[in-house]
């Protein structure tokens, strides 16, 4: 009943959007890049998989004798997920995007798809997720792709040692989305030197080419809201009130996809506001990263230096400051000074250059193990970035006509392409 109703509403919502799309033979229905990013893929258009796969949570400790402040009393180690086949199979590692955890819905969808395509799967939180910052980042300062890759590699080795007695593995693959995709490229390069896994295939899904440029583009989404990024709180409350008002007037049972599609249909959110919501969710994620990093390093950035936080201490002020600070400020005031301290003479420009696929293009260029999936309207890339990816990976670059940033990741064509690409030799 509920399903039927949802279907009915979706056909109403999506029909106008579908019509102009029919020409290019790609069935992902949401045209606008921000709307696609927020709404993702309608359930009806996802691949159907059997429910429930054999999986378990892994808790690992990649850094020995790690001292954790009391305020992280609940953190018992780095958490990852393993889905396992009962026969010999390839193992794929998946890296989440900015601020996302090993059990983020998008990563779980990939895990499901790849498990059903015959893989063992291990999912990893983004190095920007607080659980990773605390347990697995040796500097506790995420964002440096070379160091993130070394940390990720250590995590993969630890996780592999943890499970290799229990599963039979034929070969290894690697994938990640968003920031996780860019990091996957650096991990693959490191593996070329260390040769622990000798990855067969590496698939980058909606990667950033230059981390700094992509972050700048995401931050710019907040320029479109009234008063700009400094009025992000007022924006949040205004949007919230509008949703509640809409809910009050409608006849909704609960806040679910149906409600979301109704919001979409009613043009409740302008394009600038949709962009603002994406920027806001990015800031909320980065606030957690900033806080975890600052406490672990006693950096004195948003938490007073030498302050010892107890588990019951209020943290709301740190949350507010964390959301208020832009990623560019984090880069200029916290990130860059730290790495300049490590490598005297390092210029800001050099650091920015090092946070890009271009810094390892000699390794990536025409490397047959790599593939890329991205979208024509993924707003974290410029058109020059997309062109660059095409040059770098040639035919292994798949650019879909729409889908925004990761909106079409779960769309059935994308999922099939993904599993076909990494599964090609298996």
């Amino acid at each position: 009943m509920k399903y039927l109703k949802l279907l009915f509403i979706m056909s109403l919502v999506l029909l106008p959007a579908l019509c102009p799309a029919a020409g290019d033979g790609y069935g992902y229905p949401i045209l606008d890049s921000y709307a696609a990013t927020i709404m993702g893929t309608p359930d009806k258009l996802k691949l159907k998989h059997p429910e429930g796969i054999p999986s378990r949570e892994l808790v690992i400790h990649p850094i020995l004798n790690l001292k954790k402040p009391d305020v992280f009393f609940y953190d018992n180690g780095l958490r990852c997920a393993l889905a396992y086949q009962k026969k010999k199979a390839p193992l794929i590692f998946l890296i989440a995007g900015t601020g996302s955890s090993y059990n983020a819905p998008k990563l779980m969808a990939m895990m499901n798809g790849l498990y059903n395509a015959g893989f063992h799967v291990i999912t990893l939180s983004s190095p920007t997720h607080p659980n990773f910052v605390i347990n697995a980042s040796r500097s506790h300062i995420p964002g440096n792709l070379t160091e993130d890759a070394a940390d990720l590699y250590q995590v993969m080795e630890t996780a592999w040692n943890h499970v290799k007695g229990d599963i039979e593995v034929s070969n290894f693959c690697l994938s990640g989305y968003s920031l996780g995709a860019t990091q996957a490229a650096f991990v693959a390069k490191l593996d070329d030197e260390r040769k622990v896994f000798n990855f067969n295939k590496v698939l980058l899904i909606n990667p950033a080419v230059s981390l700094y440029d992509s972050v700048k583009r995401i931050e710019a989404l907040l320029d479109g809201i009234p008063g700009g990024p400094k009025k992000i709180g007022a924006f949040f409350n205004r949007m919230l009130n509008r949703f509640v008002e809409f809910y009050r007037e409608g006849d909704f049972i609960e806040v679910n996809n149906e409600f979301l599609y109704e919001v979409y249909k009613a043009d409740l959110v302008s394009r600038d506001e949709a962009g603002g919501l994406i920027g806001l969710s990015f800031r909320i994620n980065s606030a957690g990263m900033l806080f975890a990093s600052d406490v672990m390093t006693n950096g004195g950035y948003i938490v007073p230096k030498n302050r010892v936080l107890k588990p019951s201490d209020p943290l709301e002020d740190y949350f507010r400051v964390g959301v208020y600070l832009s990623f560019i400020q984090y880069f200029n005031e916290y990130f860059y000074p730290y790495f300049r301290g490590q490598r005297p003479g390092l210029t800001r420009e050099q650091l920015i250059q090092s946070l890009s696929l271009k810094s390892i293009e000699g390794y990536l260029k025409s490397n047959p193990k790599f593939g890329v999936m991205t979208n024509e309207n993924d707003f974290i890339l410029s058109s020059a970035d997309r062109e660059y990816l095409r040059q770098l990976f040639g035919e292994a670059t798949k650019v879909y006509p729409r889908g925004g940033h990761l909106g079409n990741l779960e769309y059935r064509d994308n999922m099939v392409y993904m599993t076909d690409f990494v599964g090609f030799f298996n």
Partner: protein, 250 residues
């Protein structure tokens, strides 16, 4: 219910004290003096995000931590054992059974709030599931298009203008408001009176109460601190209040 509460309360109090005292016992080594952070709230000229009035935050955060610990060492191991031992169809049957009894609470509260449609749907559900659904073990009503409603005395109080009162994290029960807690007490009292009417053997009654408690946790997927997000407490507090506000609109 009442008899179980008689032993649950002292155990909880003892656990809470033990857990908190062990936290206080660690002595802090001498740290260097604090220095102000580079950025603080003083530079913000903007509204709060996801803010909820929370005058008892210190207590609430301690309770939030207590619930995490209680879950980890007591509640979830019991629930996990139950999930491991009982076949899935038994677990579903148990949930359906207790949800069906819960319809009584929804029914009288819908009536108190003069919500005729909800009362009718709920009556239909209760009658269908108690008969066709074999004493509530199955839920054919949902398949027949009668969606499950949810009303409690807290919402009834809200309907007649009683404010929510401050946010409070209850031991074991989790996020609530003062109004919810009073409502919960009333609904629990009614439930206990009904169970008393049934005049069950005391052991059986305790067994049912225990199973009910396990089932409530089994049906609730939330896990404290699972997000790993350092500000999870604030997110949960905000989402709880939003959920409550939206429920009041229905």
């Amino acid at each position: 219910m009442i008899t179980t509460l008689r032993w649950v309360c002292p155990v909880l109090t003892a656990l809470f004290l033990a857990l908190n005292l062990s936290g206080c016992a660690s002595t802090n080594p001498a740290y260097p003096p604090e220095e102000p952070a580079m950025h603080s709230v003083r530079e913000i000229d903007d509204e709060y995000i996801a803010h909820v009035n929370d005058p008892w935050e210190g207590f609430n955060r301690s309770m939030y931590k207590f619930n995490y610990t209680f879950d980890k060492y007591v509640f979830l191991p019991v629930v996990n054992t139950y999930e491991f031992l009982a076949p899935t169809f038994v677990q579903t049957g148990v949930s359906n059974f207790f949800n069906n009894i819960g319809e009584i609470c929804t029914l009288y509260n819908s009536l108190f709030q003069l919500k005729g449609g909800k009362a009718l749907t709920t009556t239909g559900r209760f009658l269908t599931n108690s008969t066709l659904g074999i004493a509530g073990l199955f839920d054919p009503a949902t398949r027949l298009g009668l969606a499950r409603q949810n009303e409690d005395f807290g919402q009834t109080l809200g309907r007649w203008g009683v404010g929510t009162g401050p946010y409070v994290v209850m031991p074991v029960l989790g996020p609530a408001t003062v109004r919810d807690v009073s409502g919960y007490a009333v609904d629990t009292g009614v439930h206990a009176a009904l169970v008393n009417e049934a005049d069950l053997d005391e052991d059986l009654q305790n067994g049912i109460t225990a199973l009910n408690t396990i089932d409530i946790r089994h049906q609730q997927p939330f896990r404290y601190y699972e997000s790993g997000y350092p500000f999870e407490y604030y997110m949960v507090r905000f989402l709880y209040r939003e959920k409550q506000e939206l429920e009041a609109l229905r």
